[in-house]
Symmetry: C2
Subunit: 246 residues, 2 copies
């Protein structure tokens, strides 16, 4: 079999705990409002905020604004928030949210060792990620990993988004290698595993327990949705490399 020459990684919930970081940051926002005098049970506030994130999407920029609007309509038990308090609460929440995101973003423990070992093996590395380019690069720069990869692809930069298989074809072409010589590691069956399989790339489903993780034993993935491998730690990647180099 052909040895592996190239490995691609998804970013969020693959290289760092994106789901956990967002969860913590959102709660910090709630706490900031409560500390400033907002009268609401923390648990109820979190539930309402998550409804809004669910309804408007995680990249919507007005979560806390809509949270305050909704409180004024929703619950007779909650004291009406007067206009001169509204933006104070929203500003405090946004500040606390960003502070948490800036201060506590960090790589999963297994990432640096993995990248170092891949470099020693002369295997090329890439990130392929969807998301708003500025936000994605902000994460990459804060994680200090921009120099550790041979190529970073933010899908919006080239106008093709996961799960478009052309995005992965573009990636292979950039390195002039075939799918059989590449591995792609992601946390989503629909957006990572499917397009990798369609390009004959070895697909690895990484279980980090993030919001898209479906590790339920009752779910069986079939055909092009079936990952070639499932792992919970990047150390296991080297077994896969070895297996494909024999």
């Amino acid at each position: 079999m052909c040895p592996i020459k190239l490995i691609g990684f998804d970013l969020d919930d693959c290289l760092f705990d994106s789901t956990g970081l967002s969860d913590r940051a959102r709660v910090k926002g709630i706490d900031a409002m409560i500390n400033l005098g907002l009268k609401i049970e923390r648990e109820e506030a979190v539930r309402i905020l998550y409804d809004i994130v669910q309804e408007y999407g995680s990249n919507f920029s007005e979560h806390y604004n809509f949270f305050i609007r909704r409180l004024n309509q929703l619950n007779d038990n909650i004291e009406f928030i007067r206009y001169n308090d509204r933006y104070k609460f929203i500003a405090a929440a946004v500040m606390a949210y960003h502070q948490e995101k800036v201060n506590s973003i960090r790589l999963y423990n297994d990432v640096e060792f993995c990248l170092q070992r891949l470099k020693e093996l002369a295997i090329k590395t890439s990130i392929i990620t969807d998301g708003l380019p500025i936000k994605q690069y902000e994460k990459i720069l804060r994680l200090k990993i921009d120099d550790l990869f041979d190529l970073i692809i933010i899908s919006d930069e080239i106008g093709m988004k996961k799960p478009n298989p052309e995005l992965f074809k573009y990636w292979l072409k950039n390195f002039n290698i075939r799918g059989e010589e590449a591995i792609y590691i992601g946390d989503r069956i629909d957006k990572d595993i499917l397009p990798a399989n369609l390009n004959n790339i070895h697909s690895v489903y990484l279980h980090r327990g993030g919001k898209y993780d479906r590790s339920d034993a009752n779910i069986k993935f079939e055909g092009n949705f079936k990952p070639d491998y499932e792992i919970t730690n990047l150390d296991e990647l080297f077994d896969i490399i070895n297996e494909n180099s024999e």
Copy 2:
């Protein structure tokens, strides 16, 4: 004459050095891009960025994005910035810009003493400011002054903007006092001094050297544009209070 019972302050360039902070933050953004490998003279970069701020306004959210776009069109001497570098530069600039804004915002030296003395004199205090409510409250919270004022008015919250004299009428009505019993301090003739004068509020033109400061001796303000007082430091405010209490 009637003693002074209420004093209003503009926020930006009155209580803190808003112009200087923005200038420093914008240059930090430029430096971050140069540090990441952008090939341009710092001075030229600053000039181009300020053209963009001038053209699109200071609250436009895409200054650095447009900066990069413009570089690729503008100057044959500047190396073309490929798509996979663009958002890295923009993200780095935005991060550095915000970091400077967060870390180095501080009150002018004379503010705390002034507010403390006004409290001792039992004179009520307010902020009246235009600007995006979340941004304005972010400044107020970072400066830790929200509890130091009896009332904070962000004009957009009540749907009236400077120089609408009704905004200042609303302010007086809130405290149930007459214009003659109030002082308003601002850095703009058109937006601060004019509406104060129209409400018979004692108008104070504070020269901090910010971007709207017109302290040129050749400029004479007349009629409703003429400030009752001009000062360079908030300590001078107490002379004005004394003068109007005799």
